[in-house]
Each structure stands twice: as C-alpha cells, then as structure tokens.
Amino acid sequence: MDEFERIVDQTGSSLERELISEGRAYAGPAELRAHTLAALGLAGSAGLASGSLLAWFAHKSLVAKLFLLLPTITLLVGGVVGYLTIGKAPHPRDVRAPAVPPTPPSTEAVASPVELPGPSRGPAPAVATPSRARNAAPPPGSALRAELAALDAIRSTLANNDPAGALSFLDAYFRTFPQGRLTLEAEVLRIDALAQSGRLVLAKRSAQEFLRHHPNSVLNARVQPYAHR
C-alpha cells in the first residue's frame, strides 16, 4: 500500500493530468520489437510467430485446448493407422502404375522472397513465404518480414556450421535488399560467417571497416572481438 496518491488520481490541474497521461501513453516507434530482436540476433520469424501463437494457446482453457488439438490428434492417429495399413499392403512394385502420370510439383510453391542459391551442403533453411505472391504488390510490412525471414535462414545456416552456405545466402540478401532495413545485422552476420569459414584476416578487416563506418552502432559489441583478433 502506498501512502502517496498519484497526480492523475488527485483533483489537480487538467494540464498536470494530461502531461502524466501523455507520458504513460508513450508506446515507442513502429517496428521497435523487430529491430530490437534483430539487433540481439533473435529475429526468427518462425520463432516469433510460434511464440505469439503459443502464448495465445497457453491462455485457453483446458476444454478449448483439447478442442483445438483435436484435428492434430486425429491426424496423428490417422497417420499411425495409415502406416500400419500400408505395412500390410502389397509391395509398391506390385501395384499397377496409374494411367495418368503425376503432375510435377509446382515451383511456385517453394518460391522465396529472396532468390537463395543452394547451399554448399546441408538442408536449405525454410524461408517463410506466401506462394503466388511473387508478382503481386507486397502488403505493407512484408518487406521487413521477408528480410527477417532471410536473416533467420542465414542464422540457421551458420548455426548448422555451414558458413559457405550462409555467405551465399548473404550475397542473395544484399542483391535482394540493397536498401534493406536490416543490412547492418546482415553485415555482422557476414563477419561471423567469414570468421567461421576460417577467413580470419578478411573477417578482421571487415570488422574494422564496420567499426569505422558505424562508430555508434549498437552492433559494435558483436563486431569488436573480430577487429581485435
């Protein structure tokens, strides 16, 4: 219990209350969350989406959770039953070929906002993207989302010890987003990738150049260790 009454609860001047309300209502600039997560290297779009979905899910009642999970459980049970049934079915070689050949998978379905070249090894990271949206005008905010997805893919590739793949992705990122809003983060990732691939001299030079061009960047702490190696 606090013995002080707050100014907004008192019968003071309306200007006083208005000033306090203004101070309380400040919400920060747009895209603050995305930029902060990117600066911390946490800008996984998949993670962000799953995080918010799970937070929403966590607040549901037990009955609602069971109801929401029902399709998933049905699919899982169906999968197990299907697997057991196929196990008992005749060998695929004995099954007659269909009269109509199967259609090849659509290339649009795997289209990416960034034209990512194939990595040198390891699985290609999933980059969330709406298919058939390539030729349509991007909705507002989708460019930043695409950038975040691309950086997430690059980060995953680096985490999978594939610096060469990450460098290829970075080249694609800079080609796709020459005026991108997260290019500084991408530059830091390039330095990470160079160092991880053993090109320490180049990593050091890039880090020193980064510090020279961006002396006040909040990302300097991540680059400095390379510059002083």
């Binding site: 002080f4 919400a27 600039p29 902060t36």
Partner: protein, 219 residues
C-alpha cells in the same frame, strides 16, 4: 513515510525481489508451456536465448517509455532500447531470476542520462528541433495538441534534477510503489519519499507557471 530504517528498506527490497521472482516464474510458466519448450528444442533455441526473448517481449515498451520520459530524444529511442537489451544480453548470466526488471530499468535510466548529456553537447552545434511524431490514427488538431503536450512534458522533465526525475518517472508514469523504486535505485524508501515530494513540487510549480503564462497570453 519518514522513519524507515535501512534494514526496513532492505527487507522491503528483498520482499519486492521475491515477489518479482515469483512473478517471473509465473510469467515463464505462462509463456513457456510444454509445446513451447518442444518448439524451442526443435528450433535449437538455447535456454539463454529463450530467456532473453521473453525479457524483450515483457519489457520492450517499458524500456522505450522510461528512456523517452527520462530524456532520450524520440529519434534516439530505438537505438537506445537496443543498447539496453544488448547490455542485458551481455550480462544475462550475472542477472538473477527475478531481478531482471530492476536491471533493465537501472540500465535504461543510465542510458537515458548518457543520452541527455550527449544531446546537451549536440545542441551546442546543432538545433534543438523536436522531431515530429506521425500518428495516422488521429486528426491533425489532436495530433498538434498531443505534440504540444509531449513538448511541454519533455520541457518540464528536462528541467528537473536527475535524481528527482528518476523517482518522478518511476512513480507517476510507471506507477511503481516507493518500495519498488527504493529497490531499483538502491536508496532508502525515505529518500524516495522525500525526492518524490520535491519532484512533485517542482513539477507542479513549472506546470502552474506555464498555465499562468498561457492565460496571460490569452488575456
């Protein structure tokens, strides 16, 4: 208020920390149910990364608000929010569970003080133009009025002494209790109370002066 001893202040701080720790644990339990942990494992996120992400989600707007109200210019808020969380990231292993909010607020106040000093130096060379805040949801008159209110608040707060401003911002704008403020600023509760009284007198004096000036201009 008055006769709070040091040990009482320490005890209230300890209680606040324990409460904070319980809140943090509750927050983790709420935002990290079983499936979330499974997903974290699938996406290869470390516990540290999950903790940092949760802290960003929980305190992002608090940090932005404290920075802005404690003297950071609108144009610098984004960079300074990142500075606060990068500092948290660098020290995360040293920050005990339940004391994160305290650490974050202390860092934000420190960063804002640095921003004020830098801005004061910059004003000697550049102009002291207030950046325009664009908000498409409100009409031009309302926008203009809110900009004026924001400028007035900035002026009143910027003229306040640093120690008074911190207490004022945490109590009046963040609606924290005096015990919580004592814990964060690491000062006795009695000191918080006396600073708050002085800060309010200062605030009220400046606001009433502005009001009488405005009335005399109208009259």
């Amino acid at each position: 208020m008055g006769g709070n001893t040091g040990s009482e202040a320490l005890m209230s701080c300890q209680l606040a920390r324990e409460a904070g720790s319980a809140t943090f644990r509750a927050g983790v339990a709420l935002s990290s149910p079983g499936p979330a942990r499974i997903l974290d494992r699938v996406f290869g996120r470390s516990k540290r990364e999950v903790r940092l992400r949760q802290l960003v989600e929980a305190h992002l707007h608090l940090v932005a608000r404290i920075l802005r109200n404690a003297g950071t210019a609108e144009s610098d808020v984004q960079d300074d929010v990142q500075r606060v969380f990068i500092a948290l990231s660098n020290r995360l292993d040293d920050v005990q569970a339940g004391t994160e909010k305290s650490f974050i607020i202390q860092t934000a106040l420190h960063v804002a003080a640095h921003a004020r000093r830098t801005a004061a130096r910059r004003r000697e060379v550049l102009t002291d133009q207030v950046p325009e805040v664009v908000d498409s949801a409100v009409g031009p008159d309302e926008l203009l009025h809110r900009q004026q209110i924001r400028r007035t608040l900035d002026r009143v707060l910027s003229e306040m002494n640093d120690d008074l401003r911190s207490v004022f911002v945490l109590f009046e704008l963040e609606e924290m209790t005096t015990a919580e403020i004592a814990c964060i600023l690491q000062i006795p509760v009695g000191t918080v109370a006396s600073r708050l009284r002085r800060a309010r007198e200062d605030f009220r004096g400046r606001v009433s002066m502005m009001e009488s000036l405005a009335n005399s201009e109208v009259g």
